[in-house]
Symmetry: C2
């Protein structure tokens, strides 16, 4: 059915790409750096979207949609923002193609050159704050808490399916508030929401923290993030929530009359997660046989495979399998009754395994007679014969327990790959083996840059929950009050 | 709260834009032709999406996502397709901006000029058939029934919020089949699905038909469509389903081994509806006080406005209103308890009216004492005092009856604006007054073009259910076997 998957131990990067492509999550496209998200990958993203969207709405956010194109001049309005994004953007210069008489091919029509170039949004702060400056007059118009689900483009040189692509899908929240405190609270609320999603839906433990100045979003006063550890010991940033202060309201002259009747610039936040999370999910849980998916996000939670030889068996087995499928669907379990003709059961098993279906039920004539089914669990490879009676209850509780055990396993993996280091030599040695490293840092850009240069490790974040602990910087020996989190990262 | 809405009778176009902007469905953006879909408009679109998506999935379709960018050369592969789309596309020529030393502004970096220009997808047949040609080897790989929810860009010169915008949101289905008949069946299945959605969700009666050659999708063998009549007597195309034959499989060399072990080109369809439907919804049902929305799609189905004067009343009234809201939500009714402080009830009433909330409940201290509430219905402006007891049942059935009566009203409007005409002079006179006109046509491009030129009316479709009826062409007198549907259109 599928080509062999390169084992993780042999080549983790190839293993990742093999799993993504063979499980049909995504494929390459003829446009360098742009990927095709195939139905199985998109169904996973849809489940992520649905869960996150419910969380956003439950906390008072609304969805909207802003234009794909941004006038070139808008980028330049916020000094750091342009610095961060002008280097990697798709520039639209013409509005029409025409036949090139010389070559017979197409070319941009010279008379359709735009007066002002447009860029494809790399993120939407500028176009959104232009609108907010028209919508916000008074404190009564605040807060505005808008989210959008959209595609964005950043001209990345080295791309990788899901993890880093030129075009990606994401959600970007953009909020405007009357006070600084409200905006700070929002930034934090979203960080907690992201952490909740990562841990309770993706089964992925995360460290919550603040980015250092050099890792901050271009235009933010402060960037909060969640950081997760992948199976190869590298860190992956899984979501960011930015406190933007008044940077964009000033750049777009968005002032409002506050409760004291004074003009004030609005306070803002922005925050996002992307299809990168699909990559994180693969990297965190999958194995050499393919995908392993947490039940809460799996497009199919249980596959039912009827097994029959003769035509006599067939009707009986299909009927029994169908009745189980109906029972599951009534309980809200996402079920696939895999009664495809012309494929052997073993082939189907391998496909469900490859695609990460958490639970699989096989039922044959003997099972029907004995009142049993065979239940297989993807993440542990356990297989057992269980009673047909009460099977739906068993599945509901098995899905819950798989979800929990995937989280505990990921947490145990992270704990056993987390180190506390106090001198630079040990740091260099430990970082070589991968994992999270907590160490003291003197707070300067210079030291951070030197460590990155010499070890390829970056400060993933200044953890929010790190205890006060006096120490000395790894490199300079300067005093430090708390440890920060280092790792090599995606 | 809002500026006055221009009455329909005075200026229908201005009325439309006033309603869209004042009901906060959409706003203009600084990029000409690109609109901002505001939360109320987006919530409406989300409800449309959810309903359509469920229908697609129930008929075996899966969602996926293909790249935003298409290599310029792809467009040229299908001769009619390039003819149709090269004239109006956004061309990306550079991947970086840099500071222009002379002006201090930004410019595309000359060394970041692309080897091959990319265009922003106006539709995705080409990029998708490039992928299908890699995915399809055998009849076992068929059918592929994929849909995507995406943004597309067509460089329109004259734009109008929702109805015609440079960027719009839509869904585009792209299917591949082993036989011609299967593809034809799919084209028809989707047409029926669109008609079902238009009539039963949007409360919008439609005529199903086939486009003439000149109105066909660029690259299609046949285009089926649904056509609706707006309040100003103009037609609006509300959805199209194309039978593409083997045009794109040939252009992208997508051959498969059929059951007879012969190589054959795959058969295909594509189909779409867009945010244009939001404009159709406004134009079909709304009035001089603002939006009128069908309950099945309304973001808020019932608004509850508590009315109190003193602080004594307040607690009692709010408690009663809250209890009603809880009861409604338990029944799955999309409910807004409008307990905003600082706004008078009359102001709230006007806002709910403007935004098209189908039902409104007001409750004051006297109502609480009497066990009543006031129930107002948006589409008829009826108001009555009804018992508090059993209010949820009453609302559920009122929502159903509003949905039905909106459809019957729209149908009655269409019937009274549908004409059968047999000579060209009458045609010219009747078409001037708007509406649908059934007339005979000789089937030639020339006659069609002449009628369009002279009357601005186009053939909206050759209706699927038109009875056989011998007649003579309006203009040439040549024989015709069935009437076709003419109208001036959006």
């Amino acid at each position: 059915m599928a080509d062999a998957i390169t084992p993780r131990a042999e080549d983790y990067s190839r293993w990742y790409v093999d799993v993504v492509r063979q499980a049909k999550l995504a494929d390459y496209s003829p446009v360098r750096g742009c990927m095709i998200i195939r139905p199985h990958g998109y169904a996973l993203w849809e489940n992520m979207q649905r869960s996150l969207d419910d969380m956003f709405k439950a906390t008072g956010h609304e969805n909207a949609y802003f234009p794909l194109f941004i006038p070139q001049s808008f980028l330049a309005r916020e000094a750091e923002h342009v610095e961060g994004f002008a280097k990697e953007c798709a520039v639209i210069t013409h509005s029409r193609l025409e036949v090139d008489e010389e070559t017979g091919g197409l070319r941009p029509a010279p008379d359709a050159k735009l007066e002002e170039n447009l860029i494809v949004r790399p993120t939407s702060e500028t176009i959104i704050w232009d609108a907010y400056s028209r919508w916000i007059q008074s404190w009564r118009d605040l807060p505005i808490k808008i989210n959008q689900w959209a595609n964005v483009v950043r001209w990345e040189m080295r791309t990788r399916l899901f993890l880093r692509t030129m075009e990606f899908l994401w959600q970007e929240g953009h909020t405007a508030h009357a006070t600084k405190q409200e905006a700070l609270d929002e930034t934090r609320l979203i960080l907690e929401l992201y952490a909740d999603f990562a841990e309770n839906y993706m089964a992925l433990p995360v460290v919550k923290g603040t980015k250092t100045a050099s890792e901050r979003f271009a235009g933010a006063v402060d960037t909060l993030c969640i950081e997760a550890l992948m199976q190869d010991g590298k860190a992956l940033q899984a979501g960011t929530s930015h406190f933007l202060g008044q940077n964009f309201s000033k750049a777009f002259n968005c002032q409002f009359q506050n409760r004291e009747n004074e003009l004030e610039y609005a306070w803002s936040t922005s925050w996002g997660v992307s299809t990168r999370l699909v990559g994180a999910l693969v990297m965190a849980h999958s194995d050499d046989s393919g995908l392993v998916l947490p039940p809460k996000l799996a497009p199919i939670q249980v596959a039912i495979v009827p097994i029959h030889r003769g035509d006599d068996d067939k009707a009986t087995v299909l009927e029994a399998a169908g009745a189980i499928a109906d029972e599951f669907r009534d309980r809200g379990i996402r079920t696939r009754l895999d009664d495809r003709e012309g494929f052997r059961p073993g082939w189907k098993f391998a496909e469900h395994e490859l695609q990460g279906v958490p639970l699989r039920i096989a039922i044959g004539p003997r099972d029907v007679k004995n009142g049993t089914v065979e239940l297989a669990q993807r993440n542990t490879a356990d297989k057992q014969t269980v009673p047909r009676e009460g099977i739906a209850d068993r599945i509901v509780s098995a899905l819950e327990s798989v979800q929990k055990s995937m989280f505990s396993n990921a947490l145990a993996f992270r704990e056993s790959n987390t180190h506390h280091v106090d001198d630079y030599d040990s740091f260099k040695e430990v970082i070589e083996g991968g994992g999270f490293v907590y160490a003291h840092w003197d707070g300067t850009d210079e030291t951070e840059a030197r460590i990155k240069e010499e070890t390829k490790a970056t400060i993933r974040c200044i953890p929010l929950d790190a205890p006060d602990e006096a120490g000395k910087d790894l490199v300079t020996g300067a005093p430090s009050a708390r440890r920060v989190l280092f790792a090599r990262a995606y």
